[in-house]
């Protein structure tokens, strides 16, 4: 595959390169890896889980204000991987879209519809000259009463898809391979197995034993479809049972 003569074509979002690529969109994907974080999302039989590293680079930071997990509605949550300010913007937009849907149609927006909407908005940025794509990937999780647990991801290109499991960010390739291997062996994961799979995946691809204060975990389950984040104590329990298994 030729590297491609990118001179002159990748500066402007509306111009295709001779091979038919949009370089600015590809550069936006690189921006998602800039922060150096990786997130993993897994859909189990009756629950969905998102896990991301928590890095507090400065001792003077207030750790309670550092987070990449956000709720969009009470029942839909997301993990944002990528540029911090762009992430907050996309979350705000998603919240606004979800609230508008509730106002217009009288019921909660389903996860896949919200993801489609955010993806459509992201696509507009890839086609207009004055704006740049957002340098962040949004992975949404929610529990739908008809479809069960759902994991949807949308990226700077405006592409979106539902997943059984997905890894995003700096180590997404390693994460994807690891998850594929796991899903070949076993397809149905219970609630605890789902969380442990996600955490195990993250530790393996980062080659590090993660501690409870270096992780953020968000869950939705059949019994409690409201999006919530696990406390450090709960994460510790899962880490302990993961260690016992090994």
């Amino acid at each position: 595959m030729s590297v491609g003569n990118s001179a002159g074509f990748d500066r402007h979002i509306t111009i295709f390169s001779p091979e038919g690529r949009l370089y600015q969109v590809e550069y936006a994907f690189n921006a998602c890896k800039q922060a150096g974080l990786t997130s993993v999302a897994v859909r189990g039989k009756d629950s969905a889980v998102v896990v991301i590293q928590k890095k507090v680079p400065d001792k003077l930071l207030d750790p309670s204000t550092v987070t990449n997990l956000f709720y969009i509605t009470a029942n839909i949550g997301c993990v944002m991987t990528g540029m911090s300010a762009d992430s907050r913007y996309q979350v705000k937009r998603a919240r606004s879209e979800a609230a508008f849907w509730k106002y217009r149609y009288g019921h909660e927006i389903p996860v896949d519809v919200l993801c489609r909407r955010i993806a459509d908005i992201s696509q507009v940025y890839t086609q207009s000259a004055g704006m740049r794509p957002l340098g962040c990937i949004m992975t949404l999780i929610g529990y739908d009463d008809k479809m069960g647990p759902m994991v949807f991801k949308t990226d700077p290109a405006g592409y979106f898809c539902g997943f059984r499991a997905v890894a995003c960010g700096a180590k997404h390739l390693e994460g994807g391979n690891f998850l594929e291997k796991c899903f070949k062996k076993k397809k149905d994961y219970t609630f605890n197995e789902t969380i442990e799979l996600a955490i195990h995946c993250l530790s393996c691809i980062l080659s590090a034993d993660l501690r409870a204060n270096e992780l953020e975990v968000g869950i939705v389950t059949q019994e409690n479809p409201k999006f919530r984040t696990l406390t450090e104590a709960e994460i510790d329990n899962h880490l302990a049972s993961l260690a016992e298994r090994d």
Partner: protein, 252 residues
């Protein structure tokens, strides 16, 4: 991998091949060229100290302040281009006033920080505007205690226990990390902040500077005020003395 923009840095609507937005990074450089701002969150209040570099002896004392009042209970200190910062202060004041009018109460620090950061972020998305060339620190004190947030030109914002932005930020951060701020009162912190600003001030490169000190906390009953003249004088005297002491130690 180009680390100087070379063609990818002409507008905020362009990514470079390694996924950076150079215009935003250049805006952050504008912040690093300005006088230092030191802010520390103690157990019952927050103190701001600003090293306001005085470029001409003809300026009136106290002109071109870099600390702004937002509503009655919030302080905003800036590092970077002062003209851009005045715009941010104006927006912050409008947001605070709208909040009061809509919800009937003072705007919480985290909410204001969120709104200002969204506003600054919007200027990093389009090609026909440029990002703001300033970082701002916002602080307030309410029944949940003291709160402090820093917002960078990219629009990213975080809560902090202590922060330094501007020229001397590395040296100031080292000093701040030595202080046990969570146990100190705002009265004690005033002296510490003054001392740090004096320590990081570079006598050789920038001759004259004015120290602006402001605080908000239990002692001011949640109102953001400039530190009273006597307390400021005492703090500056102690700061100068500790500088002399450390200088004489080096001579020995």
């Amino acid at each position: 991998m180009s680390s100087i923009g070379t063609g990818y840095d002409l507008s905020a609507s362009q990514f470079s091949p390694d996924g950076r937005v150079f215009q935003v990074e250049y805006a952050q450089k504008a912040v690093e060229n300005s006088g230092t701002v030191v802010a520390i969150r103690g157990k019952d209040g927050i103190v701001f100290g600003v090293e306001k570099l005085v470029l001409s002896k003809l300026y009136e004392k106290g002109s071109n302040k870099r600390i702004f009042h937002i509503d009655r209970h919030i302080g905003l200190a800036v590092a970077g281009l002062l003209a851009d910062a005045r715009q941010i202060a104006e927006i912050a004041r409008e947001e605070a006033a709208n909040y009061r009018s809509n919800y009937g109460g003072p705007i919480p620090c985290a909410v204001l920080a969120d709104r200002v950061s969204m506003y600054m972020h919007a200027y990093t998305l389009y090609s026909f505007v440029r990002p703001f060339g300033c970082s701002v620190v916002i602080s307030s004190y309410d029944e949940d205690g003291p709160h402090m947030h820093v917002i960078e030109p990219s629009g990213a914002s975080h809560g902090y226990y202590g922060c330094a932005i501007g020229k001397g930020k590395q040296a100031a951060k080292t000093e701040i990390e030595k202080i046990k701020m969570k146990e100190m009162s705002m009265r004690e912190l005033v002296n510490e902040v003054a001392r740090i600003v004096y320590t990081v001030h570079d006598e050789v490169k920038d001759k004259a500077f004015e120290l602006e000190l402001s605080w908000v906390g239990k002692d001011t009953e949640g109102l953001h005020q400039f530190v009273p003249a006597e307390i400021q004088e005492e703090a500056e005297k102690l700061a100068k003395k500790s500088l002399e002491d450390s200088d004489s130690e080096e001579d020995m």
